[in-house]
């Protein structure tokens, strides 16, 4: 009785109606309006084909990959408050996170495991999109965007791997970037490197590390790539990816 009164008062107020422009009584019109007039929900069309609703059709893999990205952004921003990307402080800050930051360990664990989960999920997502033939016309280009997103996901994970500045990260990145030095023509250890006058101090590996070995410059470069460049690039491509799903006819279903 009084609850009804209060809720009526609230929903009829100017503030409420400035936010929600329609009623919530269960009519098909309102179901459509809720999706269309909500910024976050309007990635979705008002209605979707029932095939796409079956859990076994998508296993939510793409959506969960995106959710992992959101978890990474949130925990990543929190971690940035406690981390300095220099050889002097990076490892110390990791230890401080463990010992003097409340929930610091859980925060770091969340960031690490969500990153692994994101890589696994994006791989599985690609497998399911392949198996359901969802890359076929008219969805070809969105598959290409998806492949770039897969690569960006791996690079995001790889650049983050160096930041703790422990033995594991240092040697993993040393091993990983050594392969870059083997690039034909552009790497100092690669075939045909002398054609372009490539040396260890001007090859692609040097470009990536800012040095001939993993050190201060590499740490800073990986940090900036990890926190700014790659997340921005991934965000832009994700927007394109989601937009194209709609433009290419929604989640695939048999015709």
């Amino acid at each position: 009785m009084t609850m009804n009164r209060i809720s009526e008062k609230v929903t009829k107020s100017q503030i409420w109606r400035s936010i929600f422009r329609h009623r919530f009584s269960d009519t098909s019109r309102n179901r459509v309006l809720t999706v269309v007039s909500n910024f976050f929900l309007h990635v979705h069309p008002p209605k979707v084909h029932r095939t796409g609703l079956r859990i076994t059709h998508t296993f939510c893999l793409g959506g969960l990959t995106f959710y992992m990205f959101i978890v990474e952004v949130v925990t990543g921003v929190l971690l940035m408050f406690y981390y300095r990307p220099t050889v002097e402080y990076a490892y110390l800050d990791m230890r401080l996170l463990e010992h003097s930051v409340k929930f610091g360990v859980v925060m770091r664990n969340l960031h690490r495991w969500a990153a692994h989960a994101m890589v696994i999920l994006v791989m599985m997502h690609m497998l399911r999109v392949f198996l359901t033939g969802s890359y076929k016309p008219p969805r070809e280009f969105n598959w290409v965007v998806g492949v770039v997103l897969l690569v960006l996901t791996l690079l995001l994970s790889f650049t983050g791997y160096l930041l703790p500045w422990d033995q594991l990260s240092f040697w993993a990145i040393t091993v990983g970037t050594r392969m870059g030095g083997a690039t034909p023509f552009l790497g100092a250890d690669g075939p045909f490197h002398s054609v372009l006058g490539i040396r260890p101090d001007n090859d692609v590996r040097y470009l990536l590390l800012g040095d001939t070995a993993v050190g201060e410059n590499a740490l800073l470069r990986f940090y900036v790539l990890h926190c700014i460049f790659l997340p921005l690039a991934a965000t832009v491509l994700m927007l394109v990816h989601f937009w194209r799903i709609r433009k290419d006819g929604g989640i695939s279903h048999p015709l």
């Binding site: 269960d26 009519t27 098909s28 459509v32 999706v35 929900l41 979705h44 008002p46 209605k47 979707v48 084909h49 029932r50 095939t51 609703l53 059709h57 959506g63 969960l64 978890v71 990791m94 360990v105 664990n109 969340l110 495991w113 969500a114 692994h116 690609m126 198996l131 359901t132 033939g133 890359y135 076929k136 016309p137 969805r139 070809e140 598959w143 290409v144 492949v147 791996l154 994970s157 790889f158 703790p164 422990d166 594991l168 240092f170 040697w171 091993v175 990983g176 050594r178 392969m179 870059g180 030095g181 083997a182 690039t183 690669g190 075939p191 045909f192 993993v214 695939s252 048999p254 015709l255």
Partner: protein, 239 residues
């Protein structure tokens, strides 16, 4: 009210469902389940943190992050410019080209693979290889990248030296020519429709990429069974 209900009932029966609530509720459940799983994982297992980075103290084995360990595993069989650069580049390129090379229109929106056997088997083969190489590199490689079963002790050193042989110039070139020559012509001879449907450019690109993929396995087998180090040796690069 009655009319509105009836309308709602009608739209319910078509093959399209309202996003709200039918889809949104499932997304919400997925997010909740994922969050619980992630939290439990994060509260029970700690992310690794070893001693501080030291350029003078080499880790043995020094492993790349697990998703790149498959490529590192390929280093056993190939020079770095192939395992670390050419293979990943071709994988990315090949993946991007799939929708433009696969001309079959069947199987959209369903897991049924009928009518797309060639495409599906190649993809599944490549995907499995990716997983297997990662698993071997991550769990079965010990110090000096020697092979260790999970129950074997890493502190027991394994003999590092095997005697590897290179194929002679002519047999190497012959093998490569035979492999790619047969590989490019056989599918056309066995399934005439292939070339017809795909056109020359698509056919050559698709078959070459698939041959390169199986070629990786061929090299692995040559190495494991016959101790072949290089199929082809040139002054500039070795394959």
């Amino acid at each position: 009210m009655g009319i509105e209900e009836k309308k709602l009932d009608d739209v319910y029966r078509d093959e399209y469902a309202f996003v709200l609530p039918d889809l949104v509720i499932k997304e919400a459940i997925a997010v909740i389940v994922a969050s619980i799983g992630l939290l439990l994982w994060s509260m029970t297992v700690n992310a690794p943190l070893r001693s501080i980075a030291d350029a003078n103290k080499t880790e043995n084995p020094a492993k790349a992050p697990w998703y790149f360990v498959g490529l590192q595993e390929l280093l056993v069989y190939f020079d770095p410019w192939i395992a670390g650069v050419t293979v990943p580049t071709l994988i990315i390129l090949g993946l991007m080209l799939i929708p433009y090379l696969d001309v079959s229109k069947s199987g959209v929106g369903t897991y049924r693979l009928r009518g797309r056997k060639a495409a599906a088997s190649s993809f599944i083969f490549g995907f499995s290889m990716w997983i297997i190489l990662i698993l071997v590199g991550q769990f079965l490689r010990g110090p000096n990248w020697q092979f260790y079963w999970p129950w074997e002790d890493w502190s027991v050193a394994k003999s590092a030296e095997e005697t590897l042989v290179n194929m002679s110039q002519w047999s190497g070139m012959g093998l490569l020519a035979l492999y790619f020559g047969l590989g490019l012509t056989l599918p056309k001879l066995l399934y005439r429709k292939f070339l017809q449907k795909m056109g020359v450019a698509r056919y050559v690109a698709a078959v070459t990429l698939v041959l390169l993929m199986y070629g990786v396995v061929v090299k692995i087998i040559l190495r494991l069974a016959f101790n072949v180090r290089y199929i082809l040796v040139t002054p500039w690069f070795n394959i």
